[in-house]
């Protein structure tokens, strides 16, 4: 591993983000090649987090554009502050400004409401991190517009002229794959797929993010999650859920998993009624029962054997 990548990795770990080589390498390349990163992955694997961590590691501003259906250029780029414009016109009524003066006054910078994309382009001191979150939720027209902004980093406002980026922002796009993005947009980006974490990574995340968690509980929670993700559920729990659950176990002063407590706290990480029903019966016994005492076993083997029994349980329901 070369210095640069290690540097990024250390920088991100300092921000309490447990990362791996693939993430660090892609982040490093994005900076070196000045290309946006397109991050895809299941919900709750920490896609958005990467942008936040990058921003705080680089000590720069994070500008977030949350995409949704119907998001349009006015909301993403700029809007004029109409109430302020109208008030100013009222105030100027007695003055002798002619229409032209009046116009250039109220269509000036101080009446401009900068939305995320314009803010990213006009950042003063250093390049900000621009997070374009859930880009798959915007529609194709918006995607085309976005592509334009991401290629030129300049925008034109009819009343003000063309504004060019002083510093080219670092861009992170995330997508939940609800639809396929256009080839043009995908080609502009480096691609990063984030999977659910491995046991080791999840364990590291737990010990980093849940202060004071003991080794046994952390191991058991991580093992449990590895096995649960193998079961076909409506909503597979992500890392966010792992952390929520570990926190609730801590709040209940548990130092290891017990069936009863797990059943009571299932709602902390299984967010679908059918899934709760699937897991709460015999399945839970299989999962938790074999766990105490199995801490020293090889986790992969353990997961495999539990998964097989688990699938039978879930299927028979």
């Amino acid at each position: 591993m070369i210095e640069g990548i290690r540097g990024i990795q250390e920088m991100m770990e300092r921000e309490q983000y447990v990362t791996d080589r693939a993430i660090a390498t892609t982040a490093y390349l994005a900076m070196e090649l000045r290309k946006p990163i397109l991050i895809e992955g299941q919900a709750g694997v920490g896609k958005t987090e990467i942008a936040k961590v990058l921003a705080s590691a680089l000590n720069t501003e994070l500008i977030r554009l949350q995409c949704y259906e119907g998001l349009d250029v006015n909301t993403a780029l700029y809007e004029w502050n109409y109430p302020k414009q109208m008030l100013r016109i009222k105030m100027e009524e007695g003055s002798r400004k002619d229409a032209d003066e009046q116009e250039s006054l109220i269509f000036s910078d101080s009446f401009l409401l900068k939305r995320p994309l314009l803010r990213a382009i006009t950042a003063e001191d250093k390049p900000p991190v621009l997070l374009i979150d859930e880009v798959d939720r915007s529609d194709e027209e918006f995607e085309a517009f976005l592509l334009e902004v991401l290629s030129d980093f300049q925008v034109t406002i009819p009343e003000l002229g063309t504004i060019r980026a002083r510093h080219r922002p670092y861009v992170v796009l995330t997508s939940n794959r609800t639809r396929e993005l256009s080839d043009a947009l995908k080609r502009r980006c480096l691609y990063l797929w984030i999977d659910y974490p491995s046991f080791d990574k999840e364990l590291r995340i737990l010990t980093t993010k849940v202060p004071g968690i003991n080794d046994r509980l952390a191991r058991q929670v991580a093992m449990f999650m590895q096995a649960v993700r193998q079961v076909k559920l409506n909503k597979t729990p992500g890392v966010a859920e792992t952390l929520d659950w570990a926190m609730s176990m801590m709040a209940l002063h548990q130092d290891h998993l017990e069936q009863e407590t797990v059943r009571e706290t299932l709602g902390a990480f299984i967010k679908d009624r059918d899934d709760v029903a699937r897991l709460s019966g015999k399945a839970l016994e299989v999962l938790v029962g074999g766990m105490n005492g199995a801490e020293d076993e090889d986790v992969t083997q353990w997961t495999q054997s539990v998964t097989q029994r688990l699938e039978r349980e879930v299927a028979t329901r």
């Binding site: 591993m1 990548i5 390498t25 390349l29 090649l33 290309k35 004029w80 016109i89 995908k186 480096l190």
Partner: protein, 404 residues
């Protein structure tokens, strides 16, 4: 050989600095790597290849993981690309490792392709690459478009060749009328986007301010906007297996009419395999279109494998064609000879992705029919509307289901 445990990490290993000949080799391999990926339908044109070479300059080329991750981030663009990439990468890595092992000039390495050979001789950097590869890349590919995506079958592979020669003219006009009614229904869905309008209750503040500057800012005229109308997309998947023989001609006319009235319509036919027929119906005479389909669709009037066909659809087309605004219309009798589990799984995926899944079943018109066919009953869980499609009346009835 496994060079992961290679010499100590080099600081910013600039491959080009080590040896010009080696850099040319590396270039050559990356180019042919990109070409191989493109052949397997990844987004890998010359732009990506240039990026890949730039990326490799930033990392340690002796470190397999670095090289793997860098190239993957450049050459893949969706999860489905990754396994293909992995396969091709293994071969590529072996070649790179050979280059790495080569003491000096590597002229005797087996040459990949003619174009790459040129590069090797001149041994120049990126500029050269930019000049040589585009013609092999985008230019040639862009033009192919739909043709390339459609598998072409030779006449010998056709199982049965059908003649669609006689069409009743009355039938045609009736269908056209039914489709118009349906199309009107579809074309009235409002979106959250807006467009300029003169009669609407929505005020457009940006344009209002602009327009009233001429009155010194007193608002005398209101500019208005109205919501855009969004036509939902439609994907039609029609069963043309033997059991559907009596209906498929009629349904294909329907598809033809839909496609020519409604813009965003994609159509497919299947019996044991799936074929995209959208291009056949484009502005073509219905007669010609049907002739071509009968000629070119491989197993017209063959057996039925709905599950496999829908699975193929999900894998190859769904992510491009189906989103939350898409209605998927399946026209089939559900008499499947394939694996019911595959059908169930495929329907589940489709249901998840689409706004609505509508299953039109011509057999539903007969009073005795119960959806007991194994395939049909498993699929029903994931169908939003299950309706008959045996005559025009039933198609007209369909229009009330076609709003997202």
């Amino acid at each position: 050989m496994d060079p992961v445990g290679n010499p100590a990490p080099r600081e910013r290993s600039r491959y080009a600095l080590k040896s010009r000949a080696r850099y040319a080799d590396l270039q050559r391999h990356v180019i042919s790597f990109g070409r191989e990926l493109r052949r397997r339908e990844l987004l890998a044109t010359s732009t990506e290849t240039v990026d890949a070479l730039r990326a490799l300059e930033c990392v340690d080329i002796g470190d397999r993981e670095d090289v793997y991750t860098s190239l993957r981030s450049v050459f893949t663009s969706r999860l489905e690309d990754v396994p293909i990439f992995d396969q091709v990468f293994n071969q590529f890595w072996q070649r790179i490792a050979e280059v790495e092992q080569q003491p000096d000039n590597a002229d005797d390495l087996p040459s990949e392709a003619g174009e790459a050979g040129d590069l090797e001789q001149s041994g120049e950097g990126e500029e050269q690459l930019r000049l040589t590869s585009p013609d092999a890349g985008e230019g040639a590919e862009e033009g192919e478009g739909d043709e390339e995506a459609l598998p072409l079958y030779s006449p010998i592979e056709m199982l049965v060749n059908k003649d669609f020669s006689r069409f009743n003219a009355d039938e045609m006009t009736e269908i056209a009328r039914a489709v118009l009614v349906i199309a009107k229904r579809l074309a009235t869905k409002e979106s959250r986007r807006t467009r300029i309008s003169t009669r609407s209750h929505l005020i457009d503040p940006r344009r209002t301010m602009r327009r009233n500057m001429k009155y010194g800012g007193t608002i005398l005229e209101l500019a208005r906007k109205r919501r855009k109308i969004r036509k939902p997309r439609l994907v039609l998947i029609c069963d043309v297996s033997r059991s559907m023989d009596t209906y498929s001609r009629f349904l294909l006319q329907f598809i033809h009419a839909m496609q020519n009235t409604l813009g965003k319509v994609e159509s497919f036919v299947f019996s044991t395999t799936l074929t995209r027929v959208t291009p056949y119906f484009k502005n073509e005479d219905i007669q010609d279109a049907l002739d071509r389909i009968a000629r070119e669709v491989e197993d017209w009037s063959g057996g039925t494998r709905i599950g496999q066909s829908l699975q193929t659809f999900n894998e190859r087309w769904a992510r491009k064609l189906v989103d939350r605004h898409t209605i998927v219309l399946i026209l089939s009798d559900g008499l499947d000879t394939g694996d019911a589990e595959i059908l169930r799984a495929a329907m589940e995926v489709l249901d998840e992705r689409a706004a609505k899944v509508i299953w039109l079943n011509p057999l539903l018109g007969s009073k005795d029919y119960r959806p007991l066919a194994r395939g049909m009953s498993t699929a029903l869980d994931h169908v939003d509307v299950f309706a008959p499609a045996h005559n025009l009346a039933s198609l007209l009835d369909l229009s009330k289901h076609l709003a997202v």
